[in-house]
């Protein structure tokens, strides 16, 4: 069949190799090897896939032509966040993860993949410093699955059946968590203060009980405000013998109290802001961490890189065979958790990012994000009929803008903004109808003063 067929990705397709190798193994035709598959199961038809290979030039040309139909945020002024945020990606992050050694490695031994393991150990370590937590996992899939893992851990650590989450939680995150909680935990929503967005502690106290496995808190919340009562919520959790799970935005942790300091037992979050481009939501890093208590360590579902020594004095070793017995790789179904290939390349990116920023860089990053968000809120509020923020609480780099008094829907406003080359905030009217015509705006260090003013001027014209 493959007479004269030579493909650039298949070294052995060069002339003569097939015949020589088949002869060596005693087959006349490769079809004989496939006789291992029972005949009635074998596929013999033609696939509806273009038959002939395509040159590299043509691949590039065709893909570029398809991508040209996209309009990215380098051409548009975007205020979208909501789980995927625009941040500056330092050149060094791209440089290091572009190293083919990292890009094409997978699962080698401690000694052959030494650099990969040390780098991920350093990711864990720096993330531990940001979170003020002693145990950090290798990157898990994304922030939503990290939340699911945290819930699942809480269920197993306590043997209890209820998981309390704020009603302001991200619906997408909640959707993933519902799968991870099923059938172990029932998710119960805790009310929020309509004025401030803060968790309603009276409602929480009423719902927290000896059935509560954990209370989940987000700060900054999905809706952008800083949940100020984390320590009180931790206390309520612990008084009930429950855990506190904190979902955080790592870029806020130069300024905001870290989960390890207000009593969180498990921390989770989305690491994409730490040196990853947005990639249509595809470049995600689930942050998962816990207190250094044996009962949590042994419930971690994912790989952990531990540090050890070698036969030679002074040599470090790093290994993913750390507490291996807790995982499905050792005990299969008994582990009651799963993991596998996840998001390590982004852990490498995040390590480079955190090293570049250092403590002062993280503080400054947080401050600039807040300053710009506050500037945007202030200018937006000056527009007649526009209210920003909706919640009377401190905010980090996202906030809810309400358009009710403009008489326009968010959808109308966003369509009009798009005419100006602007992507308005995420429309919340479907997810949170009680907030009216509201949108979630995101302002980061990537937005200049002019960008913010351009948005405000456009909105003034649109809602006039």
């Amino acid at each position: 069949m493959s007479e004269g067929f030579v493909h650039r990705y298949i070294p052995n397709s060069a002339p003569g190799v097939r015949e020589a190798m088949l002869e060596e193994i005693g087959f006349e035709d490769v079809g004989q090897i496939y006789e291992e598959i029972p005949e009635e199961l074998r596929f013999t038809g033609e696939l509806d896939i273009p038959k002939e290979p395509v040159t590299e030039f043509e691949v590039a040309q065709r893909i570029k032509a398809m991508l040209a139909k996209n309009k990215a945020t380098d051409e548009l002024l975007s205020f979208l966040g909501a789980g995927c945020w625009p941040h500056y990606v330092p050149a060094l992050c791209d440089e290091i993860i572009g190293r083919s050694e990292f890009l094409t490695a997978y699962s080698g031994a401690d000694a052959t993949d030494y650099g990969r393991y040390q780098t991920i150990f350093e990711y864990q370590s720096m993330m531990g410093d940001l979170l003020a937590m002693d145990v950090v996992s290798t990157p898990v899939y994304d922030g939503t699955t990290a939340s699911g893992d945290a819930a699942h851990m809480a269920s197993r650590a306590t043997g209890r059946k209820e998981f309390l989450v704020p009603s302001t939680c991200s619906p997408d995150r909640l959707a993933t968590m519902r799968n991870y909680c099923d059938p172990w935990l029932e998710i119960k929503r805790v009310d929020f203060d309509a004025e401030t967005g803060q968790m309603d502690l009276e409602d929480l106290k009423g719902k927290a009980s000896s059935q509560t496995a954990a209370i989940y808190v987000e700060t900054p919340s999905y809706l952008g405000f800083i949940e100020a009562q984390c320590a009180d919520i931790a206390q309520i959790a612990h008084e009930n013998g429950a855990l506190l799970v904190a979902y955080v935005n790592p870029t806020s942790l130069g300024l905001l109290s870290p989960p390890g300091e207000y009593g969180a037992d498990i921390a989770c979050g989305e690491g994409q802001p730490l040196g990853m481009h947005m990639h249509c939501g595809g470049a995600t890093l689930g942050i998962l961490a816990c207190n250094d208590a044996e009962r949590f360590l042994e419930l971690m579902p994912s790989f952990l890189i531990g540090i050890s020594s070698t036969l030679v004095e002074g040599e470090h070793a790093f290994s993913w065979h750390t507490l291996w017995d807790r995982m499905m790789y050792a005990t299969r179904d008994k582990a009651k958790s799963f993991t596998g290939t996840s998001s390590w390349l982004w852990g490498i990116s995040a390590a480079v990012y955190m090293a570049l920023m250092g403590p002062e860089g993280m503080r400054q990053l947080g401050e600039v994000n807040m300053q710009k968000a506050y500037y945007a809120m202030e200018l937006l509020s000056s527009i007649k009929g526009v209210k920003a923020p909706t919640f009377a609480s401190p905010h980090f780099n996202e906030f809810v803008v309400n358009f009710d008094e403009t008489g326009k829907t968010v959808s109308e406003v966003n369509r009009a903004l798009f005419e100006h080359g602007i992507l308005g905030g995420k429309d919340l009217s479907g997810e949170f109808p009680q907030l009216g015509q509201a949108a979630l705006y995101c302002v980061t260090e990537t937005h200049t003063k002019e960008d913010i003013e351009t948005l405000v001027e456009a909105l003034e014209r649109i809602v006039r």
């Binding site: 490769v30 598959i37 596929f43 050694e101 040390q118 002693d134 800083i226 390590a351 995420k426």
Partner: protein, 529 residues
């Protein structure tokens, strides 16, 4: 020569082993942990201060943060300048054996193959990398088109009717399929179905995922003679409580279960679903379609067969395929095309909703799509054939080496095979974990031994994918031959390996004891105080 297990710091008397020429010496930078390189006050200027007008207008924003939520002590991150960070991570990359630099024939079940650089380059273009997932659909038609076209090709290759690329790994895909199974039986009011059947030579996720999703798992074992699980055993496990069967096909042992068609019928007759893990698809690509043989659900690993780079362990994609009857349970959104426009459909009322954020690792969709395009149907068939020929060549050659045997010798093998060093161990005391470390002294990647449970003693599971050459295979075999020889003549060399890698043998002890385990530098500082 002594072959006792060495303890920490006792290597010095074996330094002569480092002098044995192997044709390879890994870079040894002795690179400190980044904290040890930190210099107080070093800084990098990455993002600018907010403009003066902004600062004066908003004032001291930090004062808005309630006192109890203000960070008191700055994070104790290391402080280094950019050139120092560059050098540190560059050196660490050099101490990592990626597919491109090493021969990775050893890593069975991983399908280590070449990832075309053009695909990485295309995925870095701003028209993808700077796209926000919530942009209006009109502004992301190009990427939706790629996702949709890939879906068509994956349907074609699998015989399934719909795909989702939301799961971010193979295990994640199997988990999503377990969630779909759960939703399917519930939708029929069939809640008593709480058992999933799998096989011990299927990837552990086929046990771990259904168990996490709440199922009881029944694990069958391969027959000693055939390597199949056998119809009798399967029938005995199936009952009115069977929710489904989750199998890797072909198995991690390279055996294609000759009765799988029968199992599928039996499970269907009992009212269960069949989910096939096609992580090992490479060798059967274009020759076997899960949908045609009756699977209701399945998954492909785009980071294996479909060439997207393994990324040091992800970003990955477990693309899940389902039959039409199960489409309504898929995670949302599903990409659709109305003839003129691509669209994200969230309106699947019985959907399991989400197993992860947004749409999955979209860049992997682009890379897999570009790879299939570059191969063409003809190239895909050729690649599969080479995976099978290369593997059978490897089997022939490795079995000529003293001390090496193979599991289920009477069965033909497809994309990989499980070897055993049982004889070598008996005769020399050198087991597979020793052997594995020694081959790395010759500049090749370590090999995959076996998933648990270890049924075949002293296992070795390599996989020679389509992108390795005959010369690579011959080199790999020659290394095995030499290490076998060393085992028979001077086992100490093997048992104290590696000698020519970035580091020497790891002391496993602190990794197994939760009291001593350390996963962060801060914990290390505390535990060493």
């Amino acid at each position: 020569m002594t072959t006792e297990t060495l303890t920490h710091g006792e290597y010095d008397k074996h330094r002569e082993y480092e002098q044995i020429e192997t044709g390879y010496q890994a870079v040894r930078w002795h690179e400190p942990v980044i904290y040890e390189l930190s210099r107080k006050g070093s800084r990098n200027q990455i993002v600018p201060e907010a403009e003066e007008e902004i600062r004066s207008k908003v004032g001291d924003v930090v004062s808005h943060i309630p006192e109890q939520m203000r960070r008191e002590n700055p994070p104790e991150l290391p402080e280094l300048s950019e050139p120092e960070i560059m050098r540190h991570y560059l050196r660490l990359s050099q101490q990592t054996l990626g597919f491109d630099s090493g021969i990775s024939i050893g890593l069975g079940t991983c399908t280590m193959k070449y990832s075309p650089k053009v695909n990485d380059q295309l995925a870095r273009l701003p028209q993808l990398s700077e796209v926000h997932p919530l942009q209006p659909e009109d502004t992301i038609q190009g990427i939706l088109e790629i996702m949709y076209e890939l879906r068509n090709w994956l349907c074609e290759l699998s015989g399934m009717d719909e795909f989702s690329i939301q799961p971010r790994g193979g295990s994640h895909g199997v988990y999503a399929n377990a969630c779909i199974m759960r939703a399917y039986h519930r939708s029929r009011g069939d809640a008593k179905r709480d058992e999933v059947i799998t096989c011990a030579v299927s990837h552990p996720c086929n046990a771990g995922c259904p168990s996490t999703a709440g199922f009881k798992v029944i694990q069958l074992y391969p027959d000693k003679e055939t390597g199949d699980i056998g119809l009798q055993a399967l029938k005995a496990a199936v009952s009115e409580r069977t929710a489904g069967l989750m199998l890797t096909a072909p198995y991690d042992t390279g055996v294609f279960d000759s009765e799988i068609g029968e199992y599928i019928k039996v499970v269907h007759e009992a009212g269960g679903l069949v989910s096939l893990d096609q992580a090992n698809f490479n060798g059967v690509m274009t020759r076997l379609r899960a949908g045609d043989i009756g699977a209701d659900l399945m998954h492909f690993n785009l980071h294996k067969t479909f060439s997207t780079p393994h990324g040091s362990c992800g970003p990955a994609t477990g693309a899940i395929g389902v039959k039409q009857e199960l489409r309504k349970f898929l995670p949302v959104p599903v990409v659709e095309f109305d003839g003129s426009r691509y669209h994200l459909n969230y309106d699947l009322p019985q959907s399991i909703e989400k197993v992860g954020s947004f749409y999955g690792v979209v860049m992997n969709a682009l890379k897999a799509y570009a790879w299939i395009m570059a191969m063409g149907a003809r190239g895909l068939r050729e690649a599969a054939e080479w995976a099978v020929i290369n593997n059978n060549y490897l089997i022939k050659k490795l079995l000529e080496i003293r001390g090496i045997g193979i599991a289920w010798p009477n069965r033909g093998k497809l994309q990989e095979a499980r070897f055993t060093l049982e004889k070598l161990k008996e005769e020399t005391g050198v087991g597979t974990s020793d052997f594995n470390l020694r081959i790395t002294d010759y500049g090749v990647q370590s090999y995959f031994e076996s998933h648990e449970p270890v049924i075949i003693p002293e296992p070795v599971t390599p996989e020679a994918s389509d992108t390795v050459s005959k010369e690579d295979l011959d080199r790999f075999v020659e290394i095995f031959r030499r290490v076998s020889e060393e085992a028979y003549t001077d086992p100490g060399i093997v048992k104290t390996a590696p000698h020519r890698c970035a580091i020497h043998q790891t002391d496993p002890e602190p990794l197994h004891d939760p009291k001593k385990t350390v996963t962060t530098w801060r914990a290390r500082l505390k535990k060493h105080e």
